[in-house]
Amino acid sequence: MTQTDLAAFLAHSVELESEARERYLELADAMRAHHNTEVADFFMRMAHESGLHLEEVAQIAAENALPDLKPWEFDWPGEESPETASYEAIHYRLSLRQAIQLALENELAAQAFYASFAQSSADATTAELAAQFAHEESQHAAQLSVMLKELPPDDAHHREDDDDPHMPE
């Protein structure tokens, strides 16, 4: 992707926000099915926030003809879009603190992605939009940091299970 291409930038932004929303919804449902209600509620809240950002980005994108990229044709810095929680980081016994930490990392990754466009794009509109999106992500990150500070530390036993799936070590 050329970093000056507004249409390509918007296509990536829409995909980034919609993948983040889909993954949070999926995680919320999975956590609820496994009775981790507080983390399920938190992921649902994140899905809602990603949905709001998606609406905003989609509205801007609607004024442009976006390239029809196949899901594997997006050019992400890692394996998946930056705001998407990777499956390796998830566990049914995730604590609320760990879930917020994960979401914070996602917001920071999205911020870095948008900021790289803001810095490198030769196209003024793209750079301006990218800076705006990066700023919004940094605000989300700041909110999550506050939530983390207000939470008590994790109970050391939060990962214990009465019916542990493993042999005792």
Binding site: H34, K70, Y87
Partner: protein, 274 residues
């Protein structure tokens, strides 16, 4: 298949909520299946997902296409029969390493040999997840976390790609649940390949094998083109560490049956002629 992308991946989700453990690699395969279908613009009404039994085999219920949740180890038999009877359909068989290499091992070898034009996805987590963590044919010899094999299974694990090659599979690729976009691309190629395409997916079982999160650091993407030479592929599959992803081997050969019945032929027996 349409030329224009009309659907997004989420449009191929059935709305049935997966009950897999959060963090299960099978979520990623689900993600890749819907992305491949969207990327190819696949018609839901012409697509059938067939599975056996296991956590992995639940996947067809979550996709908005036709599906058949079959009998343990028998997904391939059902899928091949369906494709022979209805060659105009896109048929994707799927399941776990227990389903495909233990109870269904014989079907696997003969499906590779027969070369019916279907795709087979094995979600390999080196364990029987659904029945609470027993050793499977791909479990490492010394994996001692199961109460049934407290000192490890003590037998050599299968090499699925080597087995597939020896049995005659013309298309062999490997994907990893940590990279659903690469997996979606491989799956799209598998679906488009005219013949039996075997996609071996390293799909972590976060609950019974949490150590599999370490795969992220070991998995490496193949940079070279797929091998076409069987001897070279045999050397690769026998000696590799099993963590190389990408399209590994591809060599087209005639599919079975030799003369497929024309689509919608009311005489179903035509497709079974030898």
């Amino acid at each position: 298949m349409n030329d224009v992308i009309t659907f997004k991946a989420k449009d191929y989700k059935s709305g049935v909520k997966p009950i897999w453990c959060p963090g299960c690699g099978h979520f990623s395969v689900f993600n890749a299946v819907t992305k491949a279908m969207a990327g190819l613009g696949m018609n839901k009404d012409d697509t059938v997902l067939v599975s056996g039994i296991g956590c992995s085999s639940r996947l067809p219920a979550y996709v908005d296409s036709y599906g058949f949740h079959g009998v343990h180890g028998r997904g391939l038999a059902i899928a091949q029969g369906l494709k022979v009877a209805r060659p105009e359909l896109t048929v994707i068989a799927m399941g776990g390493d227990g389903d495909g290499f233990s109870i269904g091992g014989n079907h696997f070898m003969h499906a590779c040999r027969r070369n019916v034009d279907i795709t087979y996805v094995v979600m390999d987590n080196e364990v029987y997840g659904m029945t609470k963590g027993q050793a499977s044919p791909t479990t490492p010899m010394d994996w001692d976390h199961s109460k049934l094999t407290p000192h490890g299974p003590g037998v050599r694990p299968f090499k699925p790609a080597a087995l597939a090659l020896a049995a005659g599979a013309p298309w062999i690729a490997r994907a990893y649940s940590g990279n659903p976009n690469q997996m979606a691309h491989l799956l799209a190629q598998a679906i488009e390949f005219p013949g039996f395409s075997f996609l071996h997916v390293l799909s972590q079982c976060i609950t019974f094998c949490p150590q599999q999160t370490d795969w992220k650091a070991i998995v490496n993407e193949r940079q070279d083109a797929a091998l076409e030479d069987e001897d070279e592929a045999a050397r690769l599959f026998l000696h590799e560490d099993g963590f190389q992803t990408g399209l590994l081997y591809q060599r087209q050969r005639p599919t079975w049956p030799p003369e497929a019945a024309p689509p919608n032929d009311p005489d179903l027996t035509g497709g079974f002629r030898l």
